[in-house]
């Protein structure tokens, strides 16, 4: 089988002053007709740069210095901008990660898809309209006629991504580049979109270059896999080979970091409940006195859960399921409308603002986004010391304690003098943890603490969390949308859907014998659920719940 698109010894230079001289170094890849090649790697591995280099859409100051990109016998790198414009869209289609922002918010879906025909073909208006409708039908959008007239904000994330796919495939390009097309989607939507891409690819014989960081997705969809690390392709081969018998140490490490979907043997948690959530409800009301479209959203409806002492309660669900609202109610960032939250004999829901501030000693929260949740203008040590200082501790003592906490979460104690932007994502999440632990809480509420992190960093932070729980006797409420992560860290799991807890039980039970249809659907949607990451010899040497890895070099 000959390659439709071949990348030969491609090197892309970064502007001087970047962290490395080359974004891509000597990358050689061949993409055959009628196959899906997954390019997988962590952030900064150069996988998106590869897509940019093929289409000539590299950022300012970044350009290819060597190599060739051959499509139908012609080198794309030597083409002029005008020639490339005829290739883009018509011969190579592209799908992006964020369906929310990848479409122009001010123009209708039909208009934006139709633009493909207007710029590349001489078709008339009526004919274009027909084609657009046909495309929207092909991607199984409900009510294609309405979707054509809709603006992007009027569609759901999954529908937007379908429209995006319809647009990319409008002119039946031989090559489709999909850059993390399902990363921003919920797991059930992701499963549908992956199925759609597979279906269309097989029907039209398209060659797909699929960029992702998620090995689950790779296991789901790839025919062949190329693993990238720091701008180089370190391993390439058939999906089955790479996933189950990885050869390169980096691939092995990455795959070892993927949490298996099967939960580990259950830990016996016998403690009394430390936190009891009883009949908690929270409703959002939109629109005031004069507003015409009042809307009432039942974010959390009558949730009752309990967290045993020393245990971890996972709350899983898709976006909009109310899991974050519930987490915020527990720490009283939001006031629940009704119900009680019992922590150590006190009902947090009944406390006044001032009483709650005193009670924050016992319950703390870790947030999802390590970039946005730290004040960029304050030093990391101050951010950690702030909590104890608010609760009356002296500044010098609190700062000294911050240094100890830095060591505890595996950071260099001397790094307290730095600002948040000087740390990597994983390190920032450690700062967030240190900040939450500074008050020595009994209960930690972690809202998607590892969702923004690369898989290897995610594994480190998860190990750290498990270790801290053990050493400090913490109890934890762990919010996540990732069932693999939940399987590994939680003792009990609660599944939420549209504000309601639909199922709750020990992790192993929920995963092996889900009772509620929604739980079953969720589990069936996990990408690569049939694939169990192989335990590599070097990973097996580690204990199942290892202590925190040595302090990171600053």
């Amino acid at each position: 089988m000959s390659a439709v698109l071949s990348i030969e010894a491609l090197t892309v230079a970064l502007p001087p002053g970047a962290d490395r001289p080359h974004a891509l170094e000597d990358v050689t890849l061949g993409l055959n007709a009628n196959e899906i090649l997954c390019v997988v790697g962590e952030s900064g591995s150069g996988k998106s740069m590869t897509a940019g280099a093929i289409l000539g859409l590299l950022p300012e100051g970044v350009h290819a210095t060597a190599g060739r990109v051959i499509l139908d016998g012609r080198d794309l790198l030597t083409m002029t901008e005008e020639q490339l414009q005829k290739i883009r869209g018509a011969r190579i289609g592209m799908i992006f990660q964020e369906p929310m922002t990848a479409l122009n918010p001010l123009r209708t879906i039909g208009d934006q898809i139709g633009e493909m025909f207007r710029i590349h073909t001489p078709l008339g208006k009526a004919e274009i309209e027909n084609q657009v409708l046909g495309l929207l039908r092909d991607v199984h959008i409900p009510d294609p006629e309405a979707a054509r007239r809709a603006y992007p904000h009027e569609l759901s994330g999954g529908q937007r991504q379908r429209a995006m796919i319809a647009m990319a495939l409008a002119l039946e390009p031989r090559v489709l580049i999909a850059d993390e097309p399902t990363t921003a989607l919920d797991v059930t939507t992701q499963a549908q979109i992956l199925k759609l891409i597979r279906e269309l690819q097989q029907r039209k014989g398209t060659a797909v270059l699929f960029i992702t960081h998620d090995f689950g997705v790779v296991a789901e969809i790839a025919d062949r896999v190329a693993v990238m690390q720091r701008g180089k392709v370190v391993e390439e081969g058939r999906a089955d080979e790479v996933l189950n018998r990885p050869r390169h140490p980096y691939t092995r490490a990455l795959i070892a970091a993927v949490p298996p979907l099967a939960p580990p043997p259950p830990k016996v948690v016998t403690g009394e409940p430390v936190l009891r959530i009883e009949h908690v409800s929270k409703t959002y009301r939109k629109g005031g006195l004069l507003s015409r479209n009042k809307r009432v959203t039942h974010a959390v409806k009558d949730a009752t859960l309990s967290l045993p002492h020393g245990g971890t309660l996972g709350i899983v669900g898709e976006s909009g399921s109310g899991k974050s609202t519930l987490a915020r109610c527990i720490v009283r960032l939001l006031d629940p409308d009704s119900g009680s939250i019992l922590l150590g004999g006190k009902d947090l829901a009944r406390l006044s603002r001032a009483e709650m501030r005193a009670e924050t000693r016992n319950i703390q929260m870790v947030f999802q986004d390590p970039f946005a949740s730290l004040n960029p203008r304050r030093k990391a040590g101050e951010l950690v010391a702030q909590g104890p200082m608010v609760h009356g501790e002296g500044r010098a003592k609190a700062l000294a304690r911050a240094k100890e906490l830095f060591a505890l979460v595996g950071l260099d104690p001397n790094a307290t003098e730095r600002y948040p932007h000087e740390f990597s994502g994983g390190q920032r999440q450690r700062i967030g943890l240190a900040r939450a632990l500074a008050l020595e809480p009994k209960v930690l509420v972690a809202d998607e603490p590892v969702s923004a992190l690369d898989v290897s960093v995610q594994a480190q932070v998860l190990r750290l969390l498990a270790d801290l729980r053990e050493r400090l006797g913490l109890s934890m409420v762990f919010i996540t949308h990732d069932l693999r992560v939940a399987a590994q860290i939680c003792d009990r799991i609660a599944v939420m859907k549209e504000g309601v807890v639909v199922e709750e039980g020990p992790t192993a039970e929920v995963f092996t014998a889900p009772r509620h249809p929604y739980t079953q659907a969720l589990l069936a949607s996990v990408p690569g659920r049939t694939w169990t990451p192989p335990v590599s010899p070097d990973a097996a040497a580690e204990p199942s719940r290892p202590s925190a890895e040595p302090a990171l070099a600053p």
Binding site: L57, R88, M94, F96, P105, L106, E115, I119, H120
Partner: protein
């Protein structure tokens, strides 16, 4: 339907604004020493107390402030702006005489500032950090930092006095008796300098906002999508970037309408234009409360109208706005 609802809501919510403004100004002017009759009497060279009292009763100034305010608001509801003692005719007539000049000046300045600011901003953003951008940005800063009366005076000195290309002031050639098209051209010719003077500062603001807004929109994901679709750079800008970048500009028009009305006082004085700005100044000096309140009323209506149009325009431009 969406836009009609929005229009109704906005119209309803601007009424309290208008009322608060008028009451506030009425009370403020009560605090200033002297009233219309004092000014009138001073103008005619004094008079006996009986006549002054008679005048006060005639103009309704002998009752308490609350009653005066009540009467005023009641008359306003009937669209009656009152009678100007100084000009000797209804306030509405006085204002209507002066309104066209101000409207012309504002309209032309706003259009010019918006169009030129937008064009220069787009041009600048597409050559960001290259020399055309640097020149335009520097020029913008110069316009912004220089007071408009200075521009006006220098314009008069250079173009009217030295070169003799443009008239130094006035709205039209008085006594020339032009009619029809000839008159329109004459007025346009007279308005060139005032328009430029008033517009330059606003042009600088629009230019900077447009440039920043273009640069921001150019980094958004859908621009990358557009390029990946195979659109030419020009088409990416015209079909995808421009409309998105215009949104903050449109907001700015509404915010600046009031500022521009204030700026026109200076420009009208410099160029001796018979507009609302100068009328307001004269009304303050002469304690002509009725006229002044009338001007405030009309100006507020103007600003509210501009903002109303801007809101509707914004809703037209951005489908995400819901009532």
């Amino acid at each position: 339907m969406r836009i009609l609802l929005l229009a109704l809501r906005r119209a309803a919510s601007s009424l309290p604004t208008l009322l608060i403004l008028l009451i506030g100004l009425f009370l403020l002017l009560q605090l200033a020493p002297g009233d219309t009759v004092d000014a009138l009497v001073a103008q005619i060279g004094g008079g006996d107390p009986k006549m002054i009292e008679e005048l006060r009763r005639f103009y309704g100034l002998d009752v308490s402030v609350a009653v005066q305010l009540g009467r005023y608001v009641w008359r306003l509801l009937q669209l009656d702006l009152g009678f100007s003692a100084i000009y000797g005719k209804p306030v509405s007539a006085v204002i209507l005489e002066r309104l066209p000049a101000t409207l012309l000046l504002m309209g032309s300045s706003l259009s010019f500032a918006f169009a030129a600011g937008m064009a220069l901003g787009v041009f600048s953003a597409r050559r960001v950090n290259k020399w055309p951008d640097t020149i335009i940005s520097t020029l913008g800063l110069v316009f912004y930092a220089t007071p408009s009366f200075w521009f006006g005076l220098m314009g008069i000195v250079i173009f009217a006095v030295h070169l003799g290309w443009l008239p130094a002031g006035g709205l039209e050639e008085i006594g020339a008796g032009y009619t029809g098209l000839r008159r329109i051209l004459d007025i346009a010719w007279h308005l060139v300098l005032p328009t430029l003077t008033l517009a330059l500062i606003f042009l600088a603001t629009y230019l900077r906002i447009m440039r920043a807004s273009m640069l921001e929109v150019l980094t958004l994901d859908f621009v990358r999508t557009a390029r990946a679709k195979g659109l030419s750079p020009g088409r990416v800008v015209s079909r995808h970037v421009l409309r998105n970048a215009l949104l903050p500009m449109v907001t700015l028009i509404g915010l600046q309408a009031g500022t521009m009305l204030g700026g026109s006082v200076v420009v009208e004085s410099v160029f001796a234009l018979p507009g609302l700005g100068r009328l307001a100044y004269e009304a303050v000096v002469q304690r002509d409360l009725n006229t002044l309140l009338g001007i405030v009323f009309v100006s507020a209506l103007l600003v509210i109208a501009v903002n109303f149009i801007v809101d509707i325009l914004y809703a037209r431009l951005d489908p995400r706005i819901v009532t």
